[in-house]
Symmetry: C2
Subunit: 221 residues, 2 copies
């Protein structure tokens, strides 16, 4: 198909597709004439993957290039997981991680086989360090329950992979699931908070009066 | 205490504290002389909160200002949840949400009391729309399991709130937990993926050969 048909089939603007070609994120089509190239199903598939990573996953062009190279490589899927994780994790400034927070993460993930300097452990430790530096205390049970939930999520991630047949399909699911799963979870967490906080009414304790804002009243049932 | 003591007590640079004062994120201290102001425990507490929101939570100054105003208001905690959620959610471009994805989110959160146009539902729908536009299919069970995990997480969030005594403490835990909980969960999810994918060996199916990378072998047990 022509480049314009790639655009029609995906709804991705022509200028964006040309940028992906220039950046090497999408391989050049086969020249069918000096001014025209022909694109196949593989291009279509790659285009959707790249667009998902960049547009919604928020990856940089460099990070997306690395992820795409991993998908096309013959590396173990566990390694592709690693590449996707690093690409989809904002890098953690070591200054933001305290030894105390690292110890907490090691406790709540005791028995897990993980790289103690990997993106997972560092991200978790940076969050806990920030939470405690902000004056929050006595949250160990909260951390533990997050670790339990994270395990359920990772099991769902691997079960989804099992439904994919070919290696290429598995690799694509690894990278898109890693990148987009965080946002999906963030969204569903907010929805669940909304639901639970409206049913389990949280009374403003202390001397404060509830606001007379009428929109607040609906939740006060 | 003097501003330099605020800095010593928190490790936050003096220039950063002065910026927070200029931006109105931290109230001015009481003038003790023409060139000196006095700060109390309330300032210390506010400083830690603001720094956690901006530095690790990644909020903009404008978003942090809105969150701080909500914490200090007499609004219902459920409303403060809403303010924190909006501040901690990248805004979703309506173009990135399809009616199909909205329908999927409504199905997996059936029975939840949520605002169908709230940040939770929109973020989740945008993720699903991007996932499916990238060529991923047959993932409904995966979405459902994310919704189940999100509910466990939200329950942990509300239980943590129950351990906080005063309204100010509750409000601070709401905003910091909302902002930092996403990152904590992203980190723990990666660690759990690492652990599970190394124990549940994922064989590269199809014609590909596993790479001879020795670091990959460890996971091949």
């Amino acid at each position: 198909m022509k480049i314009s048909q790639l655009s029609d089939a995906t709804g991705i603007p022509l200028a964006t597709i040309k940028m992906y070609l220039r950046e090497g994120l999408l391989p050049q089509g086969e020249k069918s004439s000096p001014n025209q190239a022909d694109y196949g199903d593989e291009h279509l598939r790659r285009l959707k993957l790249v667009h998902g990573l960049l547009r919604v996953g928020g990856l940089s062009v460099a990070a997306a290039r690395e992820v795409v190279a991993a998908v096309e490589s013959d590396r173990f899927l566990v390694d592709i997981f690693g590449v996707a994780q690093r690409a989809a994790s904002s890098s953690v400034d070591a200054d933001n991680v305290t030894p105390e927070a690292i110890a907490v993460v090691q406790t709540i993930t005791a028995g897990w086989h993980t790289d103690p300097r990997g993106p997972g452990q560092m991200l978790a430790a940076a969050s806990i360090a920030a939470f405690e530096a902000s004056g929050q205390r006595n949250a160990v049970r909260w951390y533990e329950r997050y670790a339990e939930a994270a395990r359920l999520i990772a099991e769902a991630d691997l079960d989804l992979l099992d439904t994919r047949q070919t290696r290429a399909e598995k690799a694509e699911t690894v990278v898109l699931g890693t990148v987009l799963g965080d946002t999906l979870l963030a969204g569903l967490r907010r929805s669940a908070q909304e639901d639970l906080s409206s049913s389990r009414y949280i009374s403003p304790s202390g001397e404060d009066q509830p606001s007379p804002d009428p929109s607040a009243k609906e939740t006060h049932s």
